[in-house]
């Protein structure tokens, strides 16, 4: 009942009794939406969330959130091709957030400060799981299994853990000190590491099955793909990965004068650069993929990271993109040249895409060696018949051909969850992510342009195969980068909704689940200003029933 005043006055703020929320046709709600960086991360990171913690000055918290998905951030910050940055909405505005630099900064800080994972030790009677292969997939699986409280034994054929990270990544991209620190911290969570045990040679799958309740296989791909041109194989043929591994382990590489490397992936690029650093005059790279560029579709582009391709070009590697090798020109059983031909992927009548070579575009390239770097495949003599068996889980390169370090790490995490569910008799978990947010759902009127923090890169004349080429960013740049983040789909407590509601129907409340506002639906008229003006797209309007 309204209080009738004696005279023409009213008491202060008595209109609160009028429930103008009755007028509402649409209701605003705070909704988490997935940021494109999180959707794009093969390792399952949520960069938006840890960058928010960096912006709040909580580096340790940011790192702990980061390693809840990816235990090796100092490594991925250096070697990942960062699809998060290609997806970043800020890229549609000025330049994407330098997420890899943030990740690397946190990883390096953790090494410098000796931070440990926030893990509880597993109980002595925890189920036992074997992890085969101490590459990125196996390391990630082992870590996540330990995180879930399981007892883990990690087997590897090599004397030292790391897999391809150790054997195929040159130190100018990944310094050994970083690799060793990250892996040492990971193994220290209570993982029993058994080196020099090649499954199928030193230990059999049946033995593993007898001793362990589940097995994760991350053996990688160890068998080179067959390569020949119409049956011609030079007698001294070595594969790219083989040469790269040899150079990394013993520091020597055969002396060539003119080399053609076949392939457009990271191994091809790495090998080309190593050869160039060791003084080879002409290093040619022949790939049917295209050099990355704005007009090039993602699937058509070279699979190596654009950053690495750019640096290789700077260092004098010649890249013949969209070319195929038609013929090897032999003198006896040695190569003296290759005949290349223009190639392009075209759509067929059935809608499929296929590679077409064009007559009349043949070119002769004089080289003394040809090195295929076209990838590896699973050693199916050991693992081929295991796939799909209960209690056996597979990840990393062994599972998918388009292997990346971050993809392998994501596989390890998903496999660990699947193994836990399997052991608990639960159904496999699906990937649950809130709806991704579109660029148009942000309100970029509330952001201003700011330059991206670029890491310092060694000048070409100072580069060598042993010295890291890209430096980390400064703490100041880190903070600037964190404040550039659009915080897509996640509240940044900017107070816009609280400030711009004509009806005072947005109220500050205690912090709940990352945001600190509540709608007063008694008074909200559903005008939608809050949703329209929310910079980060955290408010969605829903029709009232």
């Amino acid at each position: 009942m309204p209080i009738l005043t004696r005279g023409s006055f009213a008491n202060a703020a008595t209109s609160l009794a009028l429930k103008t929320g009755d007028w509402r046709l649409q209701r605003p709600q705070y909704r988490h939406r997935s940021a494109p960086c999180a959707v794009g991360c093969p390792a399952g990171e949520n960069p938006q969330a840890y960058i928010a913690m960096v912006a709040e000055g909580n580096l340790r918290g940011a790192w702990e959130m980061l390693v809840a998905a990816n235990p090796l951030p100092a490594i991925t910050g250096r070697v990942c091709h960062h699809p998060c940055e290609s997806a970043c909405h800020r890229g549609s505005y000025d330049q994407p957030i330098a997420i890899h630099s943030v990740e690397r900064f946190l990883g390096d800080r953790a090494i410098a400060e000796g931070w440990n994972y926030p893990l509880k030790p597993s109980s002595p009677d925890a189920p036992r799981v074997a992890v085969v292969g101490a590459g990125p997939a196996g390391l990630s699986a082992a870590y996540h299994l330990a995180r879930l409280g399981l007892s883990v034994t990690l087997f590897d054929a090599e004397p030292e853990p790391g897999g391809l990270l150790r054997s195929a990544l040159p130190p100018y991209r990944l310094p050994r000190t970083v690799l060793n620190s990250e892996i040492a911290r990971l193994l220290a969570v209570g993982i029993a590491f058994k080196p020099n045990r090649r499954v199928g040679r030193d230990v059999s799958i049946d033995e593993l099955r007898a001793d362990f309740q589940a097995i994760f296989l991350g053996p990688g791909t160890s068998r080179p793909r067959e390569w020949s041109v119409d049956g011609t194989v030079p007698s001294d043929l070595r594969t790219g990965l083989d040469l790269l591994r040899e150079w990394i382990s013993i520091g020597a590489i055969p002396t060539y004068n003119r080399v053609a490397i076949i392939g457009g992936g990271n191994t091809a690029i790495d090998l080309a650069r190593v050869l160039k650093f060791s003084g080879v005059d002409e290093v040619h790279l022949i790939t049917f993929q295209a050099l990355p560029g704005p007009a090039v579709r993602r699937e058509e582009a070279m699979s190596a990271a654009p950053r690495e391709i750019g640096q290789a070009l700077e260092e004098g590697v010649t890249i013949h993109d969209r070319r195929g090798v038609r013929r090897l020109i032999m003198r006896g059983n040695r190569v003296v040249g290759v005949e290349t031909v223009h190639m392009k992927e075209l759509g067929t009548a059935t809608g499929e895409r296929k590679l077409v070579s064009f007559e009349g575009t043949e070119t002769i390239l004089k080289v003394d060696h040809v090195i295929p770097a076209i990838g590896q495949q699973l050693d199916s003599s050991v693992f081929g018949n295991l796939l799909g068996q209960p209690g056996i889980f597979v990840g990393g390169d062994a599972r998918s051909a388009a292997g990346t370090v971050s993809g392998a790490i994501g596989d390890g995490c998903r496999a660990a969850i699947a193994i836990r569910n399997y052991l608990d008799g639960l159904p496999p978990a699906g990937d649950e992510m809130p709806r991704p947010i579109a660029f148009d759902d942000l309100n970029i009127n509330y952001f201003d342009h700011a330059p991206r923090a670029e890491a310092l890169i060694l000048e070409v004349e100072h580069r060598s195969a042993e010295k890291e080429i890209e430096a980390g960013i400064s703490h100041q740049d880190l903070n600037a980068e964190a404040h550039r983040c659009f915080s897509c789909g996640e509240c940044m407590s900017c107070d816009n909704c609280w400030t711009l509601c004509p009806d005072n129907a947005v109220l500050k409340a205690d912090t709940r689940d990352g945001w600190r506002y509540a709608f007063d639906y008694d008074h909200c008229k559903g005008c939608g200003i809050c949703a329209n003006e929310c910079p980060v797209g955290f408010i969605t309007m829903f029709d009232e029933q």
Binding site: A12, S15, L18, N445, D513, K525, I529
Partner: protein, 331 residues
């Protein structure tokens, strides 16, 4: 993932907000009302120690449905034409009593540009220590959307329809700022609900200044202008970014400051979402001419108030309300 319903007691929260709120919820403004938001922002910037004299108009009606009031500060409504006179009297009385309470007069554009102009002129001429705030929604929206002296040229209102003879309002928007400037008062400014930081700063300035101050606040009216309520801020922002509504500061009648437009937008971007300008987008020579006329008026504003410097600055149309994590820009 869906958000949970608020667990907090909403009624209690209204009393626990970290900033003073002079205008409370439960008022009867239309959804998306620019004026309600404007009045909220102005009273919040002033603080509780104030007496408000309000002219007749939307604001007066929707905040005082007797026996209830939305105000948390002393507030009086007398007539359409006399808010400045009432405020002058309050100010004189407080001065006699030696009390520091601030006095603010509020009115719409009808009460300010037209009906109350005489008493406003008197208040300014006597240089009372009063801040006069005009919420400019460019028409008599309370009584059904009639044209006022503030309605822009070519806008359709109930009393300025578009037809064979005319494309909406025949006359130009009254240059009230020049009239105010002619009074040589210490401070006058324009602001908009689209740039709340700028609006708050100007309210504080107007309150601090000894003597008469005047603030014109561009306040979109979803009902009268014919746009979605959700677009009120966006449209107000476009009014500034096109040069249609210049944001300036005057001292003693001279323009001393103008919010710079970093990227000038075509005026059509501002006009198109509004029903009152829809006729300008029909395929006729008259429509094209009037549309061009409005573009020229915006360009003239840009020229006259020097709204583009060609450089980015921290208080320009793109940077004034850049958000910061944790709401830091409001502190």
């Amino acid at each position: 993932m869906s958000s949970e319903e608020p667990s907090a007691n909403i009624a209690e929260l209204h009393h626990k907000q970290p900033a003073f709120r002079g205008l409370e919820a439960g008022h009867l403004a239309c959804p998306g009302c620019g004026q309600a938001l404007g009045a909220r922002l102005v009273t919040e910037a002033i603080g509780p120690d104030v007496i408000i004299a309000n002219a007749t108009g939307c604001l007066e009606v929707f905040t005082s449905a007797w026996p209830r009031s939305s105000w948390r500060v002393p507030w009086i409504h007398s007539l359409f034409e006399n808010a400045p006179a009432v405020a002058s009297g309050i100010e004189a009385a407080l001065k006699m009593q030696g009390r520091p309470t601030k006095v603010v007069a509020m009115g719409g554009d009808g009460g300010t540009f037209d009906i109350g102009l005489q008493s406003l002129s008197g208040m300014l001429e006597r240089n009372h220590n009063v801040l006069y705030v005009c919420f400019d929604n460019e028409g008599y929206m309370n009584t059904g959307g009639h044209r006022s002296g503030s309605t822009p040229h070519a806008a359709v209102t109930m009393t300025s329809p578009s037809g064979k003879k005319r494309m909406g309002k025949r006359h130009l928007k009254k240059d009230l700022l020049a009239i105010i400037g002619a009074h040589q008062i210490p401070y006058a400014a324009t602001a908009t609900v689209a740039y709340p930081s700028d609006l708050r700063a100007k309210v504080r300035r107007g309150i601090e200044i000894e003597g008469a101050a005047f603030l014109l606040v561009h306040s979109p009216c979803p009902l009268g202008w014919g746009h979605e309520g959700a677009l009120s801020i966006e449209i107000a922002r476009l009014a500034v970014q096109t040069g249609f509504f210049p944001i300036v500061e005057m001292e003693r009648g001279a323009v001393v400051n103008a919010m710079q437009i970093r990227n000038v937008r075509p005026v059509a971007e501002y006009l198109r979402p509004q029903h009152r300008f829809q006729h300008l987008f029909s395929d006729s020579p008259e429509a094209r001419e009037e549309l061009e006329h409005l573009q020229q008026l915006a360009d003239y504003n840009i020229e006259r108030y020097r709204l583009t410097s060609g450089q980015s600055e921290s208080r320009d149309t793109e940077a004034t309300d850049t958000v910061m994590r944790g709401g830091m820009r409001w502190s």
